[in-house]
């Protein structure tokens, strides 16, 4: 099996070190850079499978780096942010990042996110001939026929609910910001009406989650957006 290549862009040496140690222990190939400039070079030469980018870099903004890189690289990007950078976090996700971690973060959490992103990118790249049926938990969705079932019970979704669900499925594992979801489901005129999405998410959870107040699949990233976790894509038979 080929070792996945990970690029860490972080100016704090100690953080770089423990992240590197943790990832190498998982059998990954890790490269480090401390500046955005070096990172751009490394992205070209090393062709990483995943990037971990700190938002506060000494030679420029992490968001700018993400926007630059996203235009020619499809590898997933996980953002590291401190608490006071909440709005920047959303901007980074809108610029093309896939997930984020708030400092201080735990190693297990980091590893889980990295694995999820790697898995997702591999299914996305291999998923050309995937079957139209996807599952999470005990819910199965037929994207072709729009048939949804929870356990054996068929579930009825309104058109907007269904569109929201498919948007989440398309970006599964990835944090989708309110803005991205609103643009995709309702269109550009609704980009600022985030209460729409909250109401529809609550409805989706009522219909699809076992305990809507403690969701397992339709995860809230508070003030940022949503993420669908635990999606299984069955291979085409």
């Amino acid at each position: 099996m080929i070792k996945p290549r990970i690029l860490i862009v972080e100016d704090e040496a100690d953080i770089r070190r423990f992240v590197r140690m943790a990832l190498e222990k998982e059998g990954m190939n890790v490269f480090e850079t401390a500046t955005a400039e070096e990172a751009r070079l490394n992205v070209g030469s090393r062709k990483p499978d995943l990037m971990i980018v700190d938002l506060g870099l000494p030679d420029g903004d992490g968001k700018m780096l993400i926007r630059d890189v996203r235009s020619w690289v499809s590898a997933p990007i996980v953002v590291l942010s401190a608490r006071e950078q909440e709005t920047e976090k959303v901007e980074a996700l809108d610029a093309g990042a896939d997930d984020y971690l708030v400092k201080p973060f735990g190693v297990p959490e980091l590893l889980a996110r990295v694995r999820a992103q790697l898995r997702r990118s591999s299914t996305v790249s291999n998923g050309a001939g995937a079957s139209p049926i996807v599952r999470f938990g005990n819910v199965s969705i037929n994207l072709a026929t729009h048939e949804i079932a929870r356990g054996d019970e068929p579930v009825h979704l309104t058109p907007n609910e269904f569109r929201l669900l498919t948007a989440l499925i398309r970006g599964h594992g990835k944090v989708l910001t309110h803005r991205q979801l609103l643009m995709e489901v309702w269109g550009p005129g609704y980009a600022e009406r985030s209460h729409y999405i909250r109401i529809y998410m609550a409805q989706l959870r009522q219909k699809l989650e076992d305990d809507p107040s403690q969701p397992v699949h339709l995860i809230t990233e508070l003030q940022v957006g949503y993420r669908l976790s635990g999606l299984e894509i069955s291979e085409a038979s």
């Binding site: 201080p104 729009h146 048939e147 209460h195 998410m201 107040s213 403690q214 508070l222 003030q223």
Partner: protein, 895 residues
């Protein structure tokens, strides 16, 4: 030994003057005896001189009257453009005050100080414009003729035979920094006039015949010289005071001018002004308001004119109610330490039979005061005062009187069997007294006449005829008439006094009530409503209070169409009244009064009278002034209360910060010490067993987590308490926030059972989700810290009334026995000095966050045991969500 030190009071006056002067612009007056002496010429020469020296001199306004040499002097000097004032065909150019204020010039030449501005200008007179320029720190050069000085107005009028209308108050002249006398001998002036240098040739002849007579010119010149000499005298005095030279006036003179409501009395006021100026004395103009004198509008207006004249000339005006003129005057004079009384001496023919003349009574009663009598030529016929206290219309009164007489006659005829005819007269007399008392003078006289007629007709033999012997009954009639008149006069006076007393009482009680209410007002809104509810009915006019905002711009406290903010702002900036009935911006339809308090002007009261008379009534004006100063003081008090509160809050904040620092430094150092110690143990012991190593590492991790929580709370608390908390509010579903908070607290709460009971129908709430999440995390953290592992933690929510509640409850040991609200104070903890970490910041933060959202948080004990924390958030109006449209069928191919 004489005391060489200056009198502190005098010195203070001088210092005040100098202080005032240093900020104000300086006024230089070119003063002359009459037109043509060369004032404008001298003034322009001075201006040119300054201009040549490089000073910023501008010509505000100069009238050259077509004189050539003057015209030439103007060349090369910058002249401000004039402004066109007034519309509808009567437009005229006028000095542009605003342009002058905005101009870059430090010194302005403004000719003809006594000029009357075109109607529609801001001020009625040019000297008021000049005052404003001076207030703005601009130096002014101006020109003035002696006949325009207010106090000399009468004398000049006597000399030249016509009354000059355009006058300038003496105080302007006296307050000028410099007065330059421009003087030429009368013969030279006449020569100049003949040479056509003063007026254009067409006007020369007329002028020479009317005004420029040699005698006139000599007299005017003498007046001008004297007036300037007086001023120099005053300068010397002020120099003496400031240099500790013993004043020649050991005591301050105080003049009091007593006036009646009559036009002729204006002369008294002018004389008073002149005398006061001569004596360097303060002076008061007093009018005694006698209750039984009718108050017709004309005398009121006259009185107001006198009051305005007096105040413009620098006097204080007092309108004192009193029964007896002499007594009241003397009382007041003694109270004010008056040294000289000025009283008008009415013409001889106004001889009164019973009352001795006023001045004689004063002279008898108050020998310690100087009494100055001035003859007042009462040119105007006395206005016949309307008797206002006739209780009813004449027709009704007369018919009632007739009926009464008829009834008396009938009664007397019936009683005649018992009575003597002389007693019948007493019966009639009683009727007359009764009628006069209740129905007034005319009805009384009518009753007297009827009584005599009836008596004569019905009770004197031969009845039903008038006979020659009846002449004696003319005496009866005359007597009855006198009785009727005296009685009716007395009754009218009583009624009038009662009315005045009632009106006075009404004012006094209203004022007292307003003052009491205002003194207890602690919010500006209270004052606003007071203005609306108390003052409006009191003076019968619409009243609006205007209050400055932080940038000193006025804002109306209630919506009223009539308020002109620019006029109000002028009033506020200059602390002077303006608008209707004043000398400034009188075109406005409302009166604007500044609300002065001891430290500053606190606002403006705009008054829109329903009838114009109200503002002309001196009593109402006094009442209004009293109201204004009370409101001003109340506003100032509120201002200082706010300042004090701010200070208190700051001090509290300071105290809190200090407590926070000491507590935080302890709580932060504890986990740090642990982390450092544990890490060093790991570093120094290479031979540790794997289990021990993991244990140490886990401890480090836990301490770090604790530190993280503490730091987050501190950061949030700091954010909440820094001024102007900015909440990032959006419409959220509570279940989402609860879910997110629970997801972050799972490890913390383990192994406790967590139940959520959140109805799907919960409405959206507008909150800052990150902050509400922090509240929940802190509550969960609390539950984790203070409850045993087998506890169940329940989160439930619902909507009731206009709020949404969210309850986090447990069935643990419950709350300490103390006041549950005390838990929310920073650094409060259920058990003192417990081993559980945390500075007790969590609940304080929760309360700050919830109250920033306009909600409440309460703690209470549960039965049989356990604690519940209830958050209540206001339920706003959630935004609309469009229902899904029917054409959205694409997602449902199965339907």
């Amino acid at each position: 030994m004489t005391d060489q030190r200056p009198d502190p009071d005098d010195l203070l006056e001088v210092v005040k003057g100098e202080d005032h002067r240093s900020k104000r612009g300086q006024l230089k007056i070119f003063f002359g005896a009459c037109a043509g002496v060369g004032k404008t010429f001298a003034m322009l020469q001075a201006a040119r001189q300054l201009h040549a020296e490089g000073a910023a001199v501008g010509i505000g306004v100069v009238e050259t009257h077509g004189r050539k040499d003057t015209q030439e002097l103007l060349e090369g000097l910058p002249v401000l453009p004039r402004k066109t004032v007034g519309g509808n065909g009567r437009a005229a150019t006028e000095f542009d005050l605003d342009g002058a204020l905005a101009s870059p010039y430090k010194i302005l030449v403004v000719d003809e100080l006594a000029h009357t501005n075109v109607a529609g200008s801001r001020h009625a007179k040019r000297w008021q414009d000049v005052e404003e320029l001076l207030d703005a720190g601009i130096d002014v050069y101006t020109a003035l003729n002696v006949q325009h000085l207010d106090s000399l107005n009468d004398i000049v009028g006597g000399i030249i035979g016509t009354r000059v209308r355009e006058t300038v108050p003496d105080r302007i002249f006296d307050a000028a920094t410099d007065v330059v006398l421009v003087d030429i001998p009368p013969d030279d002036l006449l020569a100049r006039l003949n040479a056509g240098k003063v007026y254009l040739p067409v006007a020369v002849e007329r002028a020479r015949q009317n005004f420029f007579r040699r005698g006139n010119l000599i007299a005017l010149r003498e007046l001008a010289l004297r007036r300037v000499a007086d001023r120099v005298n005053a300068d010397v005095r002020s120099y003496r005071v400031s240099h500790a030279i013993k004043s020649v006036w050991p005591t301050q003179e105080m003049l009091m001018v007593c006036v009646s409501a009559d036009r002729s009395q204006e002369r008294l006021v002018r004389e008073g002004a002149r005398l006061a100026q001569r004596l360097q004395a303060k002076w008061i103009v007093v009018h005694i308001d006698q209750p039984y004198k009718g108050d017709d509008t004309r005398s009121r207006e006259t009185l107001l004119t006198i009051a305005t004249t007096a105040q413009a000339a620098g006097a204080e005006f007092a309108n004192i109610p009193g029964q007896d003129i002499a007594e009241t005057l003397l009382d007041y004079a003694r109270k004010r330490n008056v040294t000289k009384l000025i009283v008008g001496n009415p013409p001889r023919w106004k001889f009164k039979l019973f009352r001795s003349r006023l001045q004689e009574r004063i002279a008898r009663a108050g020998p310690e005061m100087g009494l100055i009598l001035l003859s007042v030529d009462d040119v105007r016929p006395t206005v016949k005062r309307k008797v206002t206290d006739e209780p009813r219309g004449y027709a009704a009164a007369l018919s009632i009187a007739t009926l009464a007489c008829g009834a008396t006659t009938a009664l007397a005829a019936w009683l005649l069997r018992v009575f003597d005819p002389s007693n019948v007269i007493m019966l009639f007399l009683m009727t007359v007294v009764f009628v006069a008392m209740h129905l007034g003078r005319v009805a009384g006289a009518w009753a007297a006449f009827l009584s005599v007629v009836c008596f004569d007709l019905f009770f004197i033999e031969p009845t039903l005829s008038f006979t020659a012997t009846d002449t004696q009954y003319f005496f009866t009639f005359a007597l009855m008439l006198v009785v009727a008149l005296v009685i009716s006069q007395l009754a009218a006076r009583m009624r009038s006094e009662a009315r005045v007393a009632r009106a006075g009482e009404r004012r006094a009680s209203t004022l007292a009530r307003i003052a009491r209410d205002l003194s207890s007002a602690i919010k500006i809104e209270q004052i606003v409503s007071m203005c609306r509810d108390a003052i409006t009915p009191l003076i019968g006019a619409q009243v609006v209070l205007l209050i400055p905002d932080q940038k000193e711009r006025l804002v109306a406290t209630q919506n009223a169409g009539f308020v002109d903010l620019s006029v109000a702002q002028w009033t506020f900036d200059h602390a002077q009244e303006a608008g209707l009935g004043t000398q400034t911006l009188s075109a406005a339809n409302a009166l604007y009064l500044p609300l002065k308090a001891s430290m500053a002007t606190r606002g403006v009261l705009a008054i829109l009278p329903s009838g114009s008379t109200i503002l002309n009534d001196p009593d109402d004006r006094r009442l209004l002034d009293a109201c204004c100063s009370t409101i001003g003081l109340a506003l100032e008090r509120i201002h200082f209360v706010e300042v004090a509160q701010d200070t208190l809050v700051r001090m509290e904040g300071e105290k809190l910060r200090n407590a926070l620092l000491s507590a935080v430094s302890h709580d932060l150092k504890t986990p740090l010490t642990a982390i450092r110690g544990l890490a060093e143990t790991l570093e120094d012991s290479p031979n540790l067993r794997v289990n021990d190593r993991t244990d140490l590492a886990r401890s480090i991790k836990m301490q770090a987590d604790e530190l993280k929580r503490l730091v987050s709370n501190l950061l949030d608390l700091a954010r909440m308490q820094s001024d102007g908390v900015h909440l990032h509010k959006e419409w959220h579903t509570l279940s989402e926030i609860v879910g997110s908070a629970l997801a972050q607290s799972t490890t913390l709460l383990k192994p406790r059972t967590v139940q959520t009971r959140l109805p799907a129908t919960l409405p959206l709430v507008e909150v800052d989700a990150a902050l509400i999440e922090r509240v929940l995390i802190n509550l969960f953290d609390n539950a984790a810290k203070y409850t045993p592992p087998e506890t169940t933690v329940t989160i439930r929510a619902g909507a009731s009334g206009d709020s949404v509640y969210l309850v986090v409850e447990d069935d643990g040991p419950g709350l300490p026995a103390t006041d549950p609200d005390g838990l929310f104070e920073p650094f409060a903890r259920g058990q003192k000095e417990s081993s559980i970490a945390g500075v007790g910041l969590g609940l304080a933060l929760c309360r700050s966050i919830v109250s920033a959202h306009g909600g409440t948080i309460r703690a209470r004990a549960r039965k049989p045991h356990g604690a519940a924390f209830e958050i209540r958030l206001p339920l706003g109006a959630p935004p609309e969500v469009e229902s899904e449209t029917a054409d959205d069928q694409t997602a449902h191919p199965d339907r």
